[in-house]
Symmetry: C2
Amino acid sequence: MDKPTLPKGTRDFGPAVMAKRQFIFQTIRSVFRKFGFQPLETPAMENLSTLTGKYGEEGDQLLFKILNSGDFLKDVKAESLSDARSLTPRIAEKGLRYDLTVPFARFVVMNRNEVSFPFKRYQIQPVWRADRPQKGRYREFYQCDADVVGTSSLICEAEIILMIRDVFRTLNITDYTIKINHRGVLNGVAELIGTASNPTALFVAIDKLDKIGEEKVREELAGKGLNGRSLDLLFEMLNVGGSTPEKIAVLRERFKDNAPGLKGVADIETVMDLLKSSGSDDAHVEFDIPLARGLSYYTGCIFEVKINNVAIGSVSGGGRYDNLTQAFGDKENLSGIGFSFGVDRIYDAMEELKVFPKKTQISSNVLVCHFDEASLRYGLRVLSSLRTEGIACEIYPDISKIKKQLDYANKKQIPFALVIGSDEMSSGLIALKNLETGEQEKFYLNQIIDQLRS
Amino acid sequence: MDKPTLPKGTRDFGPAVMAKRQFIFQTIRSVFRKFGFQPLETPAMENLSTLTGKYGEEGDQLLFKILNSGDFLKDVKAESLSDARSLTPRIAEKGLRYDLTVPFARFVVMNRNEVSFPFKRYQIQPVWRADRPQKGRYREFYQCDADVVGTSSLICEAEIILMIRDVFRTLNITDYTIKINHRGVLNGVAELIGTASNPTALFVAIDKLDKIGEEKVREELAGKGLNGRSLDLLFEMLNVGGSTPEKIAVLRERFKDNAPGLKGVADIETVMDLLKSSGSDDAHVEFDIPLARGLSYYTGCIFEVKINNVAIGSVSGGGRYDNLTQAFGDKENLSGIGFSFGVDRIYDAMEELKVFPKKTQISSNVLVCHFDEASLRYGLRVLSSLRTEGIACEIYPDISKIKKQLDYANKKQIPFALVIGSDEMSSGLIALKNLETGEQEKFYLNQIIDQLRS
């Protein structure tokens, strides 16, 4: 029999990695809660009718589809068997969740009457994409989303910035940039250079500036018919420099009589102002005029977070949308805003930066060691007393040499050992061994409990 | 466009339900940790070669299979297209996790050299089964497993009982039974009545005693060739009554010269004795001689937990196995023991018994209310101060009537509101409103923080 393997692009998370991951999840979850977000979970499987058409054609290709149960060929006509594309919808009705936003929109539409708006929800679950696996890109990975729907207040935008900084502060990530832009600014630019009627090609090209540079983007856009004057104007706008207030001032001047542009600039200004009202400042925030973000459903502010000095793409992103639920036939415009932390990338970045806390607790605090049946039995009672006090502990389950027991503790990074022999049983004084320093001293059980709890 | 729906047998968990579920998960997780178990997570998808053949033929039918990506029909020969059974392995290489035990065994085999034994792992993840949905049975549900591999110490069995009682105590479930039996006892019985060579049919029939009663089981076994004398002897053994020590005494007498039977009885006795050594007793434990449990890989003690007075099957179960990893070609016998909590059934039982704590916190502690732009801005600063102190809070994001803001707080069960008007801004004395009692009093911010933190 062959040794078992894992499906491509998936991973096991053993105890040491889990401890670090839980540290990240716990940090994000507690910040979400502190900001008034409530938890939601949706099923891993969704009907393909819910998922298809929401992520563009490329996204549809990347959906994992689940084979119908039972005799799934029963009602399939012969002509459908000719190719995969026509057969798929006949033999697969369900797919795996591709992100958390579409399931959230589906939930809101299905629970319109029970939900009280503005609805602030967070959701921490894995998603699946049949992408080609590569460094930092997995086929199963976690998203941690927070969304507010039912308000257009820019306080939500300001709070996203506050939450990102709160999370990164706790994670000990110090060098990062929160890029902010606004679809209005981009639409304003498109209008100025005369491509407002179909700006998508423009935004797609701009989005690549980071990767391929100005010259290549110019070439691409020239190929799409943009003339030299428009291109010059475009890059004059995209390259406006200075602080955020300086950029705002220049753009406002440029956007005279340009409604979407002025709205974009005003929103960014208000967000900055709300940060000040919150007693905060614009630390880490950069008004990044070329930031476009692919997803077409954004309508207001957009965000992207990059950790500096690591070879990892953006670790968080999001933006405002005005009609998320319309894809499900919802008549009302529900304005909302959401953003997402990519835990797997944050993990990789933290490993690279070596910023994980040295002691992420991954096991018991104490191992109870013993010499024979009698001291093992005595140890069981000690174990119960420790656990009653909430101290995580374990006993070596077999009668073995002390060295083997201590090796076990060291391998599991258990920081303390209690060694119980006949002396200990008769005196009640138990040896507490610090496995890091090697120090050992005898104490009564209640003293040991006091020490371990502190 | 049709209103979206959920796939059959799956559920969304909104904030109120999530709060209760998190209470259960948190309870189980902290007990697992207190007993020295470490976390593991495995991917939702496994290769079908890992899953198939591990759960019996019925189990194989219930696996959700994932359609290969891309042009999955490319290399499929025409003759495979005739029926679903022969087509499936050609177009689906992966399936969804059916339980947590097989992925755990796969992990141990793949990480033999890194894992230090005895390995105590816990795992809390959803599993998927294409079962017919019905009350208490879902197609996606969570399992919470704890396993120890690499030791045959009966301390593990005793600790399972201690953990179950610890979890149920915290969950406020008081009326339940932990049934314990031993495969040796069953094998001993099979030997006594002369069916030892192929006991499976016997165990399958016995397992139904609870549901269909003695008469029907007698009929079934008679149909399989068991004679009247054997049947009488069988039920004499299964119906041995009394306390656990009394049952042990009777069986020991019966099992004279019957090795598996004597081993089974001795193990049960030792487990009870280890409970005593731990300063505990046999509360809730019942030596249930007919308890068989379906899974054929058990070799020692087996467990099943039933909550009394609710119409829900077992909520937890497990047992000892000696060769879990052999299915993956592992040569060594790794003795281990595992058990699993079914959170979804525990949830349903707790709802039926109405034992959830009244105040499962599901939202912020405070809503900051305001009258106009100035008080909203003032409120943002108050909000920051509260959050710095770790108090979960939010501000109503739009300028609206106070009544609307308080309605929002009430709907979300936010217990307190801070009402900020011009008086408050000039004096620094802010009205703190208890939304449950309606009481309202003015305090300085630092006093409010002290109150909310306590």
